[in-house]
Symmetry: C2
């Protein structure tokens, strides 16, 4: 039996020490380290593939679902994508050292708010091994040490990638404890990690709802939550000139990700009653043709009788599947109220040519991303130009929506005087 | 027996509804409401004083300590200060609606990060009744509804102030549920409040450590922590030309607040060994003359034998009293290490004329406020020019150090397209 308490303490102390070194590095040193890492990922692709093959074999032997095995699988193209991702992050502007605000007070004190790293981030994630290099690169870029806890199915792939990262860090003269992978897959370790509040500054759990809720419950460290999305499209009455776009967006928002199993897929469509007659049946037919199961309220089923009846729970459910629920509303206000009550504050869109309706929707819908005349599927760090993303926050505190390197920073107040007393 | 579950639910729903109205108001409407409130505070000062007299009488009858009764006491001057504070916040720039970032992606999507209110804030505070109007004004300014839970000793004063605020809100056409005071002082209500995560977006507890720790433990809502300060002064070797300033700052940082009972008072002084011979005894004599109890490590006591011996626990203790502990260090690096290990990451200062030493200290000390050649006592929202402050965050997430109205906001991503699909 392991002494997990001692294990996580050692891990945490090493991460904290490395974070002090990282905080003192300039941007060029971190860029160089990231370039070394990207180079080594390409160079050592064979080692990653070998390790990955072991994970795939184990997963197949354990009878994992084919879709999960597919998420786990790496190939040369995916490995090159990992390296590209690291290089892209290397090329981004340094998020640190910026003076967010600076001014001189009447008493002569010079006050500056300066961007600095958070310190140590602990990151939980599931089985896709490419997340390992993305997360490590984002943390390095933002001057943070990271403790990685990946899915147990990917442990061999993750160890291979972590070894490559450690090599790149060492080559760059950086303490390899800046990126530490937890090599034990025992769940018993997790509660100890989540109490390490003097060594870890932030926990980011990426994965299913139950994992995130368990982390929130257990953790004495701040957690950036990434609950999934019950995303809405609202089809306004002012859509008669953009009907083709409405149809294309509805279809895309539900079906563009395989199986609809992604947090920014649309799970609900609300039609204004005056748009429903023109559009509802055609949108439903498009979706049905793409294999989507349609559930509808009473009025929807009058226009599209093939829809299954929606029950109350449907409005609050994130399907993560090729299912969508459709409702007819009497007004823009009813749509806003429905979204704010039943939505998950992740991403919601209005489709309309009416500027006042768009303005009211954008102001009143209390979601991390509010979209106008486009697909909810764009709610993504890459699509927003952040490079890779560490997650999509459904919190309102600190960072909201897609989070890039800059969201892994905080600030310090630097106050410079010349002997002032109060 | 009260049904607290139902009570807090009603409170939370009313706050959420009011917050939707607040989010839609423009800056001028909120400024006008704040001006009405300030006017009514001045006009109805007599009602506040009457209510306050009841609190004072009850406190005296209950045998409260004179210092606590003093904190509770209002007079015309203090009431005018409350009104001044509200007017000052009214006059600040609107923190909302600003476009933090805006750009167009290659696919034509227009992406904007827009500053918006958090929603509903729940604020716990102790017995000073002037905090009621400060907190309400900061939340209104930032478009948030607030639920106030003040100390039970101030309940009559707080009710009088809350009634005045409600009058001002109503006069301005704003739902008075934007500012709700919890009129029950029963502690049983608190756990219910802290589970209201669908109606409250942020909890800010201001008060003793034990209150804050209890709130963190119980709350399913994000908490902005305001742990107290174990603040340090580091007297560098390069201080021979600024000895008078060093002495004045050391004295001020410890003693300028009555009884030293404030989170930004210095609790420790670290002397570089090469500065100690010149300065330590004189600094100690200044402090002793002001009634400060001095505790020192072995080397300190060689230079100032009147010091009591410091024990290990001293280095981690916040005294909130006229006590200070002094230690001699061999290097700047040792000072930094000591502060990062034993400090509370609140406010720490270097006194030095050496630019490299200052630079190293500012970079490496992991505190919300890092001061150079000035007193830690300046770590304060008013002194930083934020107007009133809702608290001094010792968190790294979201807001760090003194928090003003702008720190009670978040952002939303507004993404505008023309039919783009992914």
């Amino acid at each position: 039996m392991h002494d997990w308490q001692q294990y996580v303490l050692t891990l945490g102390q090493a991460a904290r020490n490395a974070s002090r070194q990282l905080a003192a590095l300039d941007g060029a040193a971190k860029t160089r380290a990231l370039q070394f890492i990207a180079g080594r990922i390409r160079q050592d692709a064979a080692a990653i593939l070998q390790a990955n093959a072991r994970d795939i074999a184990a997963a197949a032997a354990a009878g994992l679902a084919p879709a999960l095995i597919e998420r786990l699988r790496l190939n040369l193209q995916r490995i090159n994508c990992m390296a590209d991702g690291v290089e892209q992050i290397a090329g981004q502007a340094d998020p640190l050292g910026r003076i967010i605000e600076g001014y001189v007070r009447p008493n002569g004190l010079r006050i500056q708010k300066v961007r600095v790293p958070l310190g140590v981030v602990c990151f939980f994630y599931e089985s896709r091994p490419n997340v390992t290099s993305d997360a490590a690169a984002l943390c390095l870029k933002s001057g943070n040490a990271i403790i990685l806890r990946g899915g147990k199915e990917a442990i061999n792939s993750n160890q291979a990638i972590a070894a490559i990262i450690a090599g790149g860090l060492t080559e760059a003269g950086i303490d390899p404890a800046a990126v530490q992978l937890i090599e034990h897959t025992d769940r018993a370790i997790v509660p100890y990690l989540l109490k390490l509040d003097s060594y870890i500054d932030l926990v980011i759990p990426r994965g299913g709802q139950s994992l995130i809720r368990a982390v929130v419950k257990e953790s004495t460290i701040p957690v950036l939550k990434h609950y999934a999305g019950n995303c809405h499209l609202y089809v306004d009455t002012a859509t008669n000139t953009i009907e083709d776009k409405v149809r294309a967006i509805c279809l895309n928002a539900k079906t563009s990700y395989p199986g609809g199993a992604v947090c920014n897929a649309a799970e609900k469509i609300l039609f204004h009653k005056d748009a429903a007659g023109r559009l509802l049946a055609r949108v439903c037919a498009d979706l049905a043709a793409a294999g989507v199961e349609i559930r509808g309220d009473q009025r929807t089923r009058e226009l599209y009788p093939q829809a299954r009846p929606a029950v109350d729970a449907d409005w609050d459910t994130e399907y993560l599947a090729l299912i969508i629920a459709i409702k007819i509303v009497d007004s823009l206000e009813e749509a806003i109220e429905h979204i704010n009550t039943h939505g998950s504050h992740h991403t919601d869109a209005i489709l309309s040519t009416s500027a006042p309706a768009i303005d009211a929707f954008v102001k009143a819908v209390d979601s991390a991303s509010v979209m106008v005349n486009t697909s909810t599927r764009f709610a993504d760090g890459g699509e927003y130009g952040l490079g890779a993303e560490i997650g999509i926050s459904t919190d309102k505190m600190h960072a909201r929506g897609p989070m890039g390197a800059a969201d892994l920073t905080t600030y310090k107040w630097v106050v410079t005087g010349d002997g002032q007393v109060r």
